[in-house]
Structure formats: C-alpha cells, structure tokens
C-alpha cells in the first residue's frame, strides 16, 4: 500500500465521495476524469448516502496478504440507493448469513496495515443496517 495513493483516496474511502458530471448529471464512484456518458471533464463532488442492498455475495477463505487476517469474509457487490454498483466487503455479520437483497449501510473499518510499522488503511465496508430501538 502506497501512502500517497491511499491518501489521495481518503475522500472516497472515508466519506464515500464520488463525482457528479456537470454535463449530464451522471454519478460515478469512485471518481472519474471523463464522463462515460457524455465525455464531460468537469465534475462536482458528490457524497453518497451510504445505504444500499446486496446484489451478489461470496465468502472468501483464501485472501491476498493484506486481507489474510480477516478470512473468512464476505465479498459482495451492492447497489447504492443512488443506483451505483460497488464492490465491497460485508462486515458485522457471519458470511453465511449475507443474503441477496439484504439492506446494508456504510461503516468505516480497518482494511489493511503493513505489519507493525506501516500505515493503516481505513476505508468503507458495508454492514447490515442497524435495527434502531
């Protein structure tokens, strides 16, 4: 994990900030430099609400080195309320209990760290929506 790269991605990773095309209004996450719909290169920041539902999910038992400490974990594609599809991890639930259509919300979690001396990457995951009592 490169420090500068993760630093540049902090708005996306921590606040779920993407872009809205000033030409056609197309929403994108993560940010893009040219609109895939109309070719516009001017964008405004758009903060996604962080709520969505699971479209497809799978349990990962063998992960790359950065994610090894989290196995088994659920990797999923979710659809945000704004219509964007997003690849993410689902946390705070046993992987076997994740179902298609499950309503989820963004949480910030510790994604990876380079041993005991490297920087810690904090970024979004999604968790089942909390039942508020």
């Amino acid at each position: 994990m490169q420090i500068a790269k993760s630093w540049r991605r902090q708005p996306s990773n921590l606040r779920l900030e993407g872009t809205r095309c000033t030409g056609c209004g197309q929403l994108e996450f993560p940010t893009v430099i040219r609109c895939a719909q109309c070719g516009e290169i001017e964008f405004e920041t758009y903060q996604f609400a962080g709520k969505g539902k699971v479209i497809v999910a799978s349990t990962v038992y063998e992960a790359t080195r950065d994610f090894g400490e989290h196995v088994p974990y659920c990797a999923a594609i979710i659809e945000l309320e704004e219509g964007i599809h997003l690849a993410t991890m689902i946390t705070d639930v046993d992987p076997a209990d994740v179902t298609v259509g499950m309503e989820v919300e963004m949480v910030t979690r510790r994604i990876a760290a380079q041993g005991d001396n490297g920087p810690i990457l904090y970024a979004y995951k999604f968790a089942p929506q909390l039942q508020i009592l």
């Binding site: 705070d92 949480v107 979690r109 994604i111 508020i132």
Partner: protein, 348 residues
C-alpha cells in the same frame, strides 16, 4: 466552573462492537474456578475494528442527531488509551471521516479513562468563549488487559461522542463542571508495553473513590445541589460494584445509578465508559431532569458535570441511534476467537 455563555449538548452518539465474550469463558481458560462475581459479558472489537473506527461511528451518530454542518465544528477531540498509532492523531482520521476538516482543531487527549471528559470541559470552554459555534469531544477504547489478569474479565470496547453548542440549541445545558486531580500512580502502562499494570486494591480507596468523591463534592458545593436534585447519576464504571459504592457514599440511591452501569453487558470501555453511561442516561431522560456525570482516570483525577435536560431532547434524540440498539446487537464468541480478534496471537 462554567463559561460566561451558556453551553449545552446539541447531539450525542455511541458505538459498541457486535462481539461479546462471557467472563465465565475467560475464567474457564485461565482460572477454571467458580466466578466470584455475577455473570457478565464484555464487548470485543472485530478484526477490522479499532479505536479509530469506534470513534468514527460514535461521531457519525452524534452528527446524525445534531444535524449540523460538519464545517461548523471547530474542534474534534477524542480521548483514548488505545491509539492505533503511537505517533499520528486518531482525531484527524475521525474528523476527516465526518467531513470536519480542514478548518478545525483536532487532537488526541490522554488521561487513562477520563480524557473524554477533559475534552468535554475544553469543548465547553471553546464554545462558551465564543471561539466556536460547535465542538466535538468523545472517548473510545479497545481496552487492553494482560491475558489472565483480573482486568481481562471485563475490559471491553466502545465509545461515545458529544457535540457542544449554544444552550438555545441544546438537549441538555451545562450547569457546572469541576475537576479534582492528584499525582496517584494506581494504574499505568509504560511506553512500548502492550498491557497496563495496576495497583490492585490501591486502585480503590485512594484512587477511584477519593477522586470521584472530591470532584462531586466540589460540584455539589459550587452549585448548591444535593443528591436529591438529580434524576440520574452516572459514574465511571470499571466494574459493577465501584459506581454503586461511590454513589452510596455520596448519598445517591441505587435506582438513580444502576440503569446506566453497562459493565455487565459490555465491560469497562475505559475512555468510553462514563460517556456511554451519560449517553444511556440521555436516552432515558425527560425535560427538566438533572443528570450528574463523574468520570475517573487513573493517574489520577475525576471530572464532574451537572446537566439539565431541555424541552428539545425528544425532538433531537429521535434523530439519533440509541445505545440500546448496540447493546441488543450481540454475537457471542469463545476465548480462541477473542484471542484472534484482539491480536493476542503473534503470527510473525
């Protein structure tokens, strides 16, 4: 002490991880003997959680309740004794996550279990002086304990966040606050050590009880209030017995204190403990109620506060997330999973 301009709480939020371990399970592994105390559980952070993630979620819940623009926060101050980085502030991570940067003061506070209430006093002063419309303070910990130590039975994880603002917008207005601090080495963790050390019985009478009694006594003298003046009283809660015992010695009956002692459900969350207790009391409070808060931090000191709940509490509170929502969300784990999640197995 209190600021010239009236200040209060405009939003609050807490967070408690999902996982729980039964103290009897800790006892099974280390002592294999009859438990001396009643059955209790402690909250355990998941493998992707630490103090920063706990503080972030508590801060988000406070913002959700306050419904203010994050750019109006002039301070984001968090207290902890389990910082993810030894050098690099946790508070900047929290402030970034809620969108409060860059025109804000951000700092980590440290005073064993009471840095959150120190930050609260500073936030009160910052808003009360007119330097800021709003200031955020809080405390969170993934409390450390040496495997097999008595602390391991109930060192939990959790945190709470409070946003201070002008009294007119507040759900609870500060009446007064006091501090009582001495140089008492009852509990400490040396630089580079993974687990704290404590003075066992020395952590009681000359430490916890003396300091809380002094801070609360001064608060009652300063305000002219009596234990009868308060609907609820929240004390730092390293275990179930200490807050009840100090409350009784000050004249507070059990029914004003016990509902806000969370240690049998989530353990001692160190910097989060007293503040989660206050959040739980605010979840239950009605307009006109007075609430006493008394923190304790080893080393040693206590901060005491008197708040009066306003007519606005029900409207503001309805926008938030109750502490009960997290208390009821549990997944029991055994000691092996706990050891893995808490990083007690060294792989390298």
């Amino acid at each position: 002490m209190k600021p010239n301009k009236a200040v209060g709480i405009v939003g609050y939020g807490g967070y408690i991880p999902r996982y729980r371990i039964d103290a009897a399970e800790v006892n099974r592994v280390w002592k294999d003997s009859a438990m001396p105390l009643g059955r209790s559980f402690k909250a355990v952070p998941g493998p992707d959680e630490d103090t920063a993630t706990i503080a972030i979620q508590a801060a988000r819940n406070a913002m959700r309740m306050a419904q203010i623009s994050p750019e109006k926060l002039r301070a984001v101050w968090f207290g902890t004794e389990s910082k993810p980085y030894a050098v690099k502030p946790t508070s900047t991570i929290v402030a970034d996550a809620i969108g409060a940067l860059p025109h804000a003061n951000a700092a980590d506070w440290e005073f064993a279990c009471k840095p959150g209430t120190e930050a609260m006093q500073a936030a009160i002063a910052m808003v009360g002086s007119g330097m800021a419309p709003y200031a955020m303070c809080g405390g969170a910990d993934t409390a450390q304990a040496r495997p097999g130590d008595i602390l391991e039975y109930n060192t939990g994880a959790g945190g709470a966040s409070f946003i201070l603002g002008e009294a007119e917008e507040s759900l609870a207005i500060l009446e007064a606050s006091t501090s009582y601090v001495t140089n008492t080495p009852d509990f400490f963790r040396r630089e580079g050590q993974p687990y704290p050390s404590h003075g066992q019985r020395f952590t009681g009478k000359p430490a916890y009880f003396h300091h809380i009694r002094a801070a609360v006594g001064e608060l009652l003298n300063e305000t002219g209030a009596t234990p009868e003046s308060f609907k609820y009283a929240v004390f730092h809660q390293p275990n179930y017995q200490f807050p009840l015992k100090v409350a009784a010695s000050l004249g507070f009956p059990k029914e004003k204190v016990e509902p806000f002692i969370l240690t049998s459900q989530i353990g001692n969350t160190y910097s989060g403990a007293a503040l989660l207790g206050l959040a739980t009391a605010l979840d239950a409070a009605a307009p006109g109620d007075k609430i006493l808060l008394a923190s304790y931090g080893s080393g040693a000191g206590s901060d005491a506060f008197s708040f009066t709940v306003t007519e606005r509490i029900e409207e503001i509170r309805s926008r938030g997330v109750s502490i009960k929502s997290y208390l009821n969300r549990t997944r029991l784990i055994d000691y092996a999973v706990y050891a893995r999640y808490r990083g007690k197995l060294r792989m390298n």
